[in-house]
């Protein structure tokens, strides 16, 4: 597949936006300004961008507790997103959800989830509605290898297949589920091998190659939009940070992170685009500066936004 120049720049821009947002978040969280837990996805940007770049605004996604990348890739506005992470009233969930339970419904981000695997059970619901209403929309649900051990994975995949629902299952193999290596969670090499047992296609790809992820997602979206049922894309990637910010990562073998940093998806793609003459150093710097400016503005607004009044605890329990 030949990707045009504009698309390549778009893919790069989206990855830079995510990386900038999350790197800034790391610093702010370490400074004690953000409440709660924070799970970041540096290193996994290509998975989020390669898939979401194929989705329409009306398509739905469900993300994990490590969901910022997909949410930004899907098109969420960084301002209400950052305010949400700060727990402020201008956050898109009014400061009630934070990072782990974040949703931005108008861009199709139907919810991150604090419970591993649970997005899959909800994804079959939006996919059911998309089919019921005879739209051509689809639902993508993101999860890691750890979630494939939950009943939610089996139940949801099986039901998506039996009801022929437009669900794209996107599995990021980032080598660790929480703090435990992949080998403890699954006894097979590739999760995609499980897809045919449900009657669906599944592919395993290099999740650090954004163009490859994009190309596979084209096939998955075509398949699901055509009403052919679910599809699984397994992306082999790596989580640069720990399970949560502050995790000492003492379970990782020495040198492992350094090896993976050589395959950093943002750096790899930057080099590729430079080599192809799509972007030069000046343009790259301009894109990075623009992303930093956007994040700075979001942080400024978040800091100015008020804390929710205690009455917020009692508002809107029922619709």
């Amino acid at each position: 597949m030949k990707l045009n120049k504009d698309l390549k720049i778009d893919l790069y821009k989206r990855m830079v936006r995510i990386r900038t947002f999350e790197d800034n978040t790391t610093t702010i969280f370490a400074g004690g300004e953000m409440p709660g837990f924070l799970h970041l996805s540096q290193g996994e940007e290509a998975v989020a961008v390669g898939t979401c770049a194929n989705l329409e605004l009306e398509d739905a996604i469900f993300t994990t507790h490590r969901g910022h990348g997909c949410i930004i890739a899907k098109g969420a506005d960084l301002k209400p997103m950052m305010a949400e992470l700060f727990g402020r009233i201008d956050g898109c969930c009014k400061g009630r959800a934070g990072s782990m339970h974040f949703a931005d419904v108008k861009t199709g981000c139907m919810g991150s989830n604090g419970v591993v695997g649970e997005g899959m059970r909800l994804a079959i619901g939006t996919a059911f509605a998309q089919k019921y209403k005879k739209t051509k929309n689809v639902t993508a649900v993101y999860f890691g290898e750890g979630a494939t051990g939950t009943g939610a994975f089996h139940e949801s995949f099986n039901m998506a297949a039996t009801l022929n629902l437009p669900v794209i299952f996107v599995c990021s193999i980032n080598l660790y589920a929480q703090m435990t290596h992949k080998s403890v969670h699954i006894a097979i090499e590739n999760v995609a091998d499980r897809a045919p047992s449900y009657g669906a296609p599944g592919v395993t790809i290099d999740g650090n190659d954004v163009e490859l992820v994009y190309e596979e997602a084209v096939k998955a979206v075509k398949h699901t939009r055509a009403g052919k049922g679910p599809y699984l894309i397994e992306c082999k990637t790596y989580r640069h940070h720990g399970h949560f910010e502050g995790d000492p990562c003492n379970y990782r073998p020495e040198g492992e992170l350094e090896e993976w940093l050589k395959k950093d998806p943002v750096v790899l793609y930057e080099k590729k685009l430079k080599k192809e003459g799509v972007l030069d150093d000046k343009q790259i710097k301009a894109l990075k500066d623009a992303a930093q400016k956007e994040v700075d503005e979001a942080v400024e607004l978040a800091r100015k936004s008020p804390q929710p009044e205690v009455e917020e605890l009692y508002r809107g329990i029922f619709a």
Binding site: V105, M110, I124
Partner: protein, 327 residues
């Protein structure tokens, strides 16, 4: 349309669902055996014939995924009505009720509504045993954001079903298998039974009886017996266990000064415990006797008939308790 012939509990639920499906194309039914087989106990018979398999959806045996599907579909604008059969099986979907359905509207700052109904059945009195007979409404009544209704006869069964489907929140609808054959003449035309409002079944002056679900029938028998013995009991059918209509109970207690709560679920951590605690907090000065509860003991429900009978509350146990308070 007038329904002159008496209608039983099952058909009342069926009519409630079918009427709402005719009214609103976003309403559909989903679950194990609900479509082609017409429901494990026939409650959804005929729905697939009238509305087709797109709106009467048979699923694999995956309770968590059924309720999860409902949450997602409701957040995307549909109004699912799911069946989970025996309430014990709902344990496999507690995650979806507690972490997802009940929280989504509040947690996302009002960005979505989750209008879904899940039906589940209590089946005490059938010898169905430890895995098919439990009354777990207390667990669910402790979840903010989730409404829990417990109809007790065909008229309120239909009215509560229609109200539940029209409600913009998740509603757990708990129906008693032992009452399925109970018949009643139905009101004419379109009606709902409001959620969150208890029904004063009979006014009285000596003692207030608050019943939940199927225990209304036992309470009616008890009230008749008490009347014969010169005790004028007031009977309130709670109908909804979240949100609780405490105002109706407070007003009754102010009048009778005595309160007994009866439910099929266990006494320990049951809905009656919450009602009793709220009553002593709010209207303590009006009480002439301790608030009493007639409910299941803190053990497991048995399949063995004699043990099950001992376990379940009934009219006889209620009469005995009331006499302790009034006597």
């Amino acid at each position: 349309m007038s329904e002159k012939k008496p209608v039983n509990f099952q058909w009342a639920i069926n009519h409630g669902i079918a009427e709402e499906m005719r009214r609103d194309p976003n309403v559909f039914i989903v679950g194990e055996d609900v479509g082609k087989p017409g429901g494990p106990f026939g409650v959804t018979r005929g729905i697939i014939k009238e509305f087709g398999p797109e709106r009467a959806v048979d699923t694999p045996i995956s309770e968590g995924a059924i309720v999860g599907l409902c949450c997602g579909a409701a957040a995307a604008g549909l109004r699912p009505v799911a069946e989970i059969m025996f309430m014990n099986f709902i344990t496999l979907a507690v995650e979806e009720f507690y972490n997802q359905a009940s929280k989504m509207h509040w947690m996302f700052g009002g960005q979505v509504k989750v209008p879904m109904v899940v039906r589940a059945m209590t089946a005490g009195g059938f010898g169905a045993g430890p895995h098919h007979s439990s009354s777990l409404e207390g667990w669910f009544a402790s979840m903010p954001g989730l409404k829990v209704v417990m109809p007790s006869n065909p008229v309120n069964a239909k009215g509560l079903m229609k109200a539940a489907i029209r409600d913009d929140n998740p509603v757990l609808y708990v129906e008693p298998l032992a009452s399925y054959k109970l018949k009643m003449e139905m009101p004419e035309g379109d009606y709902i039974t409001p959620i969150g409002k208890a029904e004063v079944v009979k006014e009285g002056s000596d003692v207030s009886i608050v019943s939940i679900g199927r225990m209304r029938l036992e309470s009616e028998k008890a009230v008749a017996k008490l009347t014969e013995e010169g005790i004028n009991a007031e009977l309130i059918d709670l109908l909804t266990v979240n949100p609780l209509d405490m105002e109706t109970i407070y007003e009754s207690v102010k009048k009778t000064n005595r309160l007994v709560i009866i439910h099929e679920a266990k006494k320990v951590m049951g809905v009656g415990a919450e009602v009793a605690a709220a009553v002593q907090e709010e209207v303590f000065d009006w009480l002439d006797a301790p608030v009493a509860r007639v409910a299941a003991p803190f053990t497991h429900i048995a399949f063995q008939p004699q043990l099950e009978k001992h376990y379940l509350p009934d009219a006889e146990k209620l009469v005995a308790k009331v006499k302790e308070l009034v006597g």
